[in-house]
């Protein structure tokens, strides 16, 4: 009986949707968001002439944004939605997901749409946007 209950609980946990947005206090979140905005602007400015996806993703600001973890996912998706940009590696690294059809690799519009849809489905983007 005990074993059955334990099994049921574990199965139940596995079926829970993954939570992508950690809970934080409002002031913690605001401070982190300001830092994210600063890093994102620096990354855009300092990588805009680059064609190398490797170099774009190896920029120190990009690394720091990845290091913020899941709290940054809504902000990255907002950036992607409002200003484009090659955020795909950061989104994949943080979420450990990849909603992009392999045939669409390199098709920036389709990759963007796939990630925005993923964001809506996971409650990280307003579904009306």
């Amino acid at each position: 009986m005990v074993e059955e209950n334990t099994l049921e609980e574990n199965t139940s946990e596995e079926n829970q949707p993954e939570e992508f947005a950690p809970r934080q206090s409002a002031s913690e979140s605001a401070t982190l968001e300001r830092e994210f905005n600063r890093l994102a602007e620096q990354w855009r400015r300092e990588t805009m002439s680059m064609s190398s996806s490797t170099d774009i993703a190896m920029h120190p600001a990009y690394y720091q944004i990845i290091g913020m973890g899941r709290v940054a996912l809504p902000w990255i998706l907002r950036e992607l939605q409002q200003g484009g940009g090659h955020w795909f590696l950061a989104l994949g690294a943080i979420s450990r997901q990849n909603p992009v059809n392999p045939q669409d690799r390199g098709k920036v519009r389709k990759m963007t749409e796939a990630w925005l849809q993923w964001g809506r489905e996971n409650g990280l983007l307003d579904s009306n946007n």
């Binding site: 805009m48 064609s51 484009g84 390199g106 920036v108």
Partner: protein, 154 residues
């Protein structure tokens, strides 16, 4: 989706990023976009971002390595072959590959005619410039490989 660029003075930005352009004719020929890059532009593809990486387009039979050899192999699939220099040859199209100080590919440009080359500048604009050396810089490094193919005739 337009890529949001945090600058307002394009001309100043160009000369700061590409100092050699101070010495040669150049002009911006497109709106900015992050939907394709210099490699795609060299391959005349404006629908995809080409790069040997998990999020870029790259020929399926080639490794995801940004070496000159790998770029040569990708363009060999488009009928390009290595050649000696960037001089204009009637009946041929040429592209050049730029390599940075770390030995990895950074940029490509395509010849339009005897006096004009075209480059897509990363996530920004297409420009025309007078020579391959016009966009040599800290970010792109220097020209390291020349490739040519016969011009297609209808």
């Amino acid at each position: 989706m337009a890529f949001s660029i945090p600058i307002t003075d394009v001309h100043s930005w160009l000369l700061a990023e590409f100092p050699n352009l101070r010495n040669e004719q150049h002009n911006v020929t497109s709106l900015y976009t992050d939907e394709y890059n210099c490699v795609a532009w060299a391959a005349a593809d404006t629908e995809r971002w080409w790069w040997p990486s998990q999020n870029g387009y790259w020929p399926e039979d080639l490794p995801l390595v940004d070496s000159v050899e790998n770029f040569v192999r990708a363009f060999q699939e488009l009928n390009y072959q290595p050649c000696d220099d960037a001089s204009f040859e009637a009946g041929y199209e040429k592209v050049v590959v730029y390599v940075g100080a770390d030995g990895r590919v950074k940029h490509m440009a395509r010849q339009l005619d005897a006096n004009t080359w075209t480059s897509k500048l990363g996530q920004a604009w297409d420009i025309e410039h007078a020579s391959p050396q016009g966009v040599e810089c800290k970010t792109y490094g220097q020209v390291a490989q020349f490739l040519k193919r016969p011009v297609k005739t209808e």
